[in-house]
């Protein structure tokens, strides 16, 4: 048994951390948050040049053919740096969807661009307040045309292609692959809690589209895709959680009140220890999640939803209590605490809420429990 990353993988982490501290310092996140752009195009290009967008894409499609351990490591580092780029949309979702469901022609057409970063992809699923499900899905795919509204779509304003969950003419669920550079695609910016990751509302009007793969995609296959993305997202969230903890610890050691460092007050130090405990459990669950993803384990649903719930809880708590530890300064625009607070909440709702994943976790538990009996 060996429950740790390999030496090479740990080196990749160090490399990624060094790269991002150079290329994605807080000022980069701040400028997107403060400005009118939806992402940092320069950072995206550099990340693509590092080959990160190509990580798990097979070499035959221009990828590196590496594994999910490597991708998880990158995800954590992107989380730590609150990178303002469409990595999760393009890599964990669009790329994964095409690899999982796409025909050979579709893979040939799109994967090389996704690998090189020239193509930005996203998954368009949400349509309404509350969860979009197989039952209430309303965007249609009929006679090769997609119609209806998807919102909010992460990175929807900058994506080149979208994998769109829709209902086929026979009422079944399909995934449509849509080139977003078409006149019949109407996109408007959706302002969200985390402007450092742009979101859009996309209205399709009989927009020409291809069916992804062989036609019908079962909802459970789509959910399995989300499980895979959830593991990687959990690593991003963990990056947020750990950075928030580190910031809070640093501040608590240097800030003095009543003649001593505020970190010497148990109200603060036990709060930080509580963060550490949550982060530590989330990390161990994320290890199991990426192991299940990398090894195509039967327990992926359980492992992914556990990692997801743990990282959601850890990151929300850490981001929130990091501000609290900083006191008034933590509540200012000038301090970076806000990045983690915004991003943590945004990521906790991308792919579905804590409640949704708790429920999915227990479904998996019930199944493994029934199998064991």
């Amino acid at each position: 048994m060996n429950f740790e990353f390999s030496e090479e993988q740990l080196m990749l982490r160090e490399q990624a951390r060094g790269f991002l501290s150079q290329e994605s310092p807080p000022s980069v996140t701040r400028s997107v948050l403060d400005g009118d752009t939806h992402f940092d195009a320069n950072l995206w290009q550099k990340v693509a040049e590092m080959g990160w967008t190509a990580t798990t894409i097979p070499e035959e499609y221009g990828g590196l053919g590496l594994g999910y351990y490597e991708l998880a490591i990158i995800a954590e580092e992107l989380g730590r740096s609150v990178a303002p780029i469409p990595f999760s949309s393009s890599v964990y979702l669009a790329t994964e969807a095409i690899m999982a469901f796409g025909s050979s022609a579709q893979k040939n057409k799109w994967l090389p661009g996704l690998a090189s970063g020239d193509v930005i992809g996203t998954l368009a699923l949400s349509e309404r307040s509350g969860r979009t499900t197989a039952e209430n899905l309303s965007v249609t795919l009929e006679n090769g045309g997609v119609s209806g509204t998807k919102t909010p779509v992460a990175d929807g304003m900058i994506a080149n292609i979208a994998v769109v969950a829709c209902r086929g003419s026979a009422g079944h669920v399909q995934l449509a692959l849509v080139d977003l550079a078409q006149d019949s695609v109407d996109r408007t910016t959706v302002t969200t809690l985390d402007p450092s990751r742009g979101h859009g509302k996309i209205i399709f009007t009989d927009t020409p589209a291809e069916v992804l793969g062989d036609g019908e995609v079962s909802w459970s296959a789509l959910e399995a895709l989300l499980d895979r993305a959830a593991v990687l997202m959990a690593w991003e969230q963990l990056g947020i959680a750990d950075m928030a903890l580190e910031q809070a610890c640093d501040y608590a050691k240097q800030r003095f009140a009543f003649g001593r460092a505020i970190g010497s007050f148990q109200a603060i130090k036990h709060k930080l220890a509580g963060m550490y405990v949550k982060n530590s459990l989330a990390r161990s669950n994320a290890y199991h999640g990426v192991w299940a993803l990398a090894s195509d384990s039967d327990s992926l649903q359980l492992a992914a939803s556990t990692a997801r719930v743990a990282s959601t809880q850890a990151s929300l708590f850490a981001a929130q209590e990091n501000i609290q530890t900083h006191g008034g300064m933590g509540f200012t625009w000038e301090f970076d605490c806000q990045f983690y607070y915004r991003r943590a909440k945004m990521l906790s709702l991308a792919l579905g809420s804590e409640r949704h994943w708790q429920n999915r976790l227990v479904s998996a538990l019930q199944e493994s429990h029934a199998n064991a009996a």
Binding site: S126, G130, T192, A257, F258, Q320, Q324, G327, F331, S353
Partner: protein, 401 residues
């Protein structure tokens, strides 16, 4: 126990309701005015009608009303859409301080103008190095003849950019222990040497300011209390602050959660039918209702002549984290749409505004941690934290820098 008015209370309520019905703000009153102008207009009208700061003595412009009458007035006034936030600090926190500590001529001069809304005041206590350790402030006041010369910086000052006056706590002797070297003054906010810079919060809004003092001169008769008595004077303000800020105003609450849970679906049914949703809403209601009835108990105690005590710290201590939790929960109900900041849609933007604002509420006016310490030490009588700065001259206390 009785929620109903006594006959006397009912009569008072009828009088108040009558006056409000006859004097309410019209669309014409509001037209073309800024919120501050509307607020001043309304406050002046109340003052002229004898309904401003009704708990104050008549000599200061009030009507000497009882605590219960104040509650009744607030209930009746809150039925109308009238502005009030501009006067909370001046009337709720500073006026009680002036009543105790100011010289007679200043009380006569300033209090009626506070009551009528003619003059706006701000509170200059917090400093960058202070934070929760309020008394660690460093802004210097040095005596120069009949005047004091102020140098230093204050922070988190609401309303500084349009206030007429402020009360300021300064350090007049850094060689004695922290709490002993402080002195409080009235300061004219239009005086030369005052520089005001708004602070941008993480919400993007600017409710607070940094205020820089460079050789600002204050006459000695503006001093509130004796030299060295500033901390005692500040406690008057702080005690009233806790009463004034309470649970923290409008925001995401059980009502909003119920509305959203009725609108959105989980598994094809209204979310409100989901048992996990219900359990959370129930817990939030326990907090909200508990705070509401805590408030009634506090009012009853006031009306029996009891002084408001440190137990009132509960309002903000419970209310602020509750706001954050309810807001987060409401966003979760909306699933992926929960992050959408829809200016046009009150239902969702209220949750998001609350989520972004709540961290500030958990800090302003005393952090959760400070509030908890107050309850532990002053309500439960538990021993103080070890005080490493106790009895040490202020300029020898470790600062970490």
């Amino acid at each position: 126990m009785d929620f109903n008015d006594t006959p006397q209370e009912a009569e008072f309520r009828a009088d108040a309701a009558d006056w409000l019905a006859n004097n309410q703000l019209t669309d014409g009153d509001r037209e073309g005015k800024t919120p501050l102008e509307i607020a001043k207009l309304w406050q002046q009208r109340k003052y002229d009608g004898g309904w401003a700061c009704i708990g104050w003595d008549t000599e200061y412009g009030g009507r000497g009303a009882s605590p219960i009458e104040r509650v009744i007035w607030d209930q009746e006034e809150s039925k109308y859409d009238v502005p009030s936030r501009f006067f909370v600090i001046g009337q709720g926190m500073i006026a009680p301080t002036l009543m105790v500590w100011a010289q007679p001529q200043h009380k006569e001069n300033f209090l009626p103008k506070l009551a009528s809304g003619e003059e706006i005041w701000c509170q200059l206590f917090s400093e960058p190095a202070g934070g929760s350790d309020l008394a660690a402030l460093r802004t210097k006041a040095e005596k120069d003849g009949d005047e004091w010369v102020i140098n230093g910086q204050k922070i988190w000052t609401s309303q500084a950019h349009y206030a007429d006056y402020g009360i300021i706590v300064t350090r007049t002797d850094p060689t004695v222990a922290k709490h002993k070297g402080l002195t409080m003054f009235i300061v004219d906010m239009k005086a030369p040497g005052i520089d005001i810079k708004p602070i941008k919060q993480l919400t993007g809004e600017s409710d607070f300011n940094e205020v820089y003092f460079t050789d600002v001169r204050i006459p000695d008769h503006y001093r509130l209390g004796d030299v060295g008595q500033g901390w005692t004077a500040a406690l008057t303000t702080l005690m009233n602050e806790r009463l004034a800020i309470g649970g923290g105003g409008p925001g995401a609450d059980v009502k909003l959660a119920l509305e959203i849970a009725t609108l959105v679906e989980i598994d094809g049914k209204p979310a409100i039918e989901d048992s996990a949703v219900r359990a959370k809403i129930a817990d939030f209601h326990v907090l909200e209702a508990g705070l509401e009835y805590n408030g009634y108990r506090a009012i009853t105690a006031l009306s029996r002549g009891e002084l408001p005590g440190p137990e009132n710290s509960i309002g903000k201590l419970v209310g602020a984290p509750k706001l954050q939790a309810v807001a987060s929960f409401c966003m979760d109900l909306l699933e992926e749409s929960g992050i959408v900041w829809s200016d046009g849609d009150l239902l969702t933007s209220l949750a998001q505004r609350s989520y972004m604002g709540a961290p500030g509420l958990r800090i302003a006016g005393g952090t959760d941690e400070i509030m908890t310490n107050i309850i532990a030490e002053r309500v439960l009588g538990l021993p103080q934290d070890p005080r490493l700065d106790k009895g040490i001259p202020f300029n020898e206390v470790p600062t970490g820098n």
